[in-house]
Amino acid sequence: MTFWEAITMAWKDIMRAKMRSFLTMLGVIIGIFSVISLVTLGEGMKGFMYEQIDKFGTGPTYMEVHGGKEGQLAAMATVKMTLSDAKAIEDRCPSLELVDPRNIQSGKITYLDKSYTSPFISGCSPALMEMMNWGVSQGRFLSDVDVLGRKKVVVLGQDLARKLFGGFPAIGEKVRINGSKFLVIGLFKKKGSIMGVNMDEYVAIPVTAAEDVFDTDKLAEIGAVARSIELVPQAVAEIKTVMAERHGKEDIRVDTMENSMAIMDTIMSALTAIVTGIAAISLLVGGIGIMNIMLVAVNERVREIGVRKAIGAKKRDILVQFLTESVIISLLGGVIGISSGVGLASFIMVIIGMPLVVSFWAILLATFVATFVGVVSGVYPAMRAAALDPVEALRYE
């Protein structure tokens, strides 16, 4: 009996009872499906995160100082950081290259009869430009003089400029922010959106002017860039020392890029572990299901086995016949699981607009696991079939 004959034979037997074969596969399908869809989603999510960080323009030496403990949301922090904190960090942390204090509030920005509420009016320093790798398309960015002089000048994002001024030149015009007049000195280059926030509606004013119009000197965050990747941990330590000294206790946290990626990885591997556990149980149950059905199939076909042996089938031929059948059932379940898993993940990715990363290794591994389950659960029934005595089998009613 050739390999191909064994496969066609098994295929016919599987197709003869389609519903039963499908139900038998279900455990394997569910197991493989859950792992493949999660792994594909996770890979896509990771790819998305990297893409976003890339777009953000900052690179791995970037970090942000927020008030509050690790894991606490920045917006909920009651700790007050001020411009003098930022100044102290800039002066006393030799590992840092750039420091950018940010006083961010939402606010209303008005030109003539048009007005727009921006969620991010950012009081910042000239350092922002270099830190973020952003650029201006027209005019200039904020200067040290603007900050020191508490000048009421503003740099606008492209989309916001178009909303306020239409096609007309914006530079040299005056807009009102929370009632105060600001001179438009520049427009940002187009940046697109990052994490669902349209960066082309960004509004940048001197951090000192922000203190005046927002009527608070509390900073939302302090951006900073270390001199090299190797210096990131040292920079974090320096910032913490300076702040602890100034505030009397450690009440701030430093979020590094590396940190964010590590958190993402931790979440993903925890999720993967859980789903792998579920999948393993599902595959175990699926394997037992296949074994059970194969035992039933052997019992149903005792007479057939007798006939096959009488006309010359060797033990090995019978073994191969039943083993092939269980492997095909399991492998078919695996293929259905893989394709529906990838299908679901792609569907979700397309809907939320994330990149689709299909892991070749995950698919290879899933195929291997499905085959393995088929072999393990088929061996015992197939051995029973092969061991049947031909005379007894022919007498079987």
Partner: protein, 237 residues
Amino acid sequence: MSRIVKVEDLHRTYILGKVEVPALRGLSFEVTKGEFVSITGPSGCGKSTLMHLIGCLDHPDSGTVYLDDINVSKLNDNQLAEIRNKKIGFVFQTFNLLPRLSAIENVELPLIYGFFTPRQMKEKSMAVLEKVGLAHRAEHRPPEMSGGERQRVAIARALVVEPSIILADEPTGNLDSKSSEEIMAIFQGLNNEGATIIMVTHEHDIANCTKRNINLKDGQVLADQPVKQVCLPADRS
């Protein structure tokens, strides 16, 4: 004339729980090429057991079976399977076709365990189906066929490997008299073409269609004599 089968002092005892059932008790005879032998005897006298031993499906407790002068008692399971595949054509009382396969697929089955290309399998199977007059029903499955037709498919399956001997265990036992006659006509035709046949039956009419009769009783040969053969008209319409 060449010897096809030789059995020597065969013994076979079944053990049913604690009871020993002696089925064959010292049985010897020879069959040469071209013979058409019927084996008769009351139910339970060991006819099927004998066929299983000659057919290499079972081992004797003692005694020897020679097939084409090979001592099959000395062979292992794989070698026996090979002998069954190449040298023996079985025909059973209950046909033993696989119901989900078509007639031609059933006939091809022994060839699957040999070394043939799909094309060779098709050609050989079609040729023997033609021989038993069922070429036109090649694609039909056994449940769509009459008993006589099923038995003819079974005969085709036995013939397809061009066996040294055909072993038929009550091949007409489940058939009406008309179908029985058709089947016997086929066997006679095959025998006239040179096939060696051993056939178990408990019907005198059937035994009279053969050329030699071995009568068993209690697992021993009671009589072994030539038969004045009744020839059937080999008409297969």
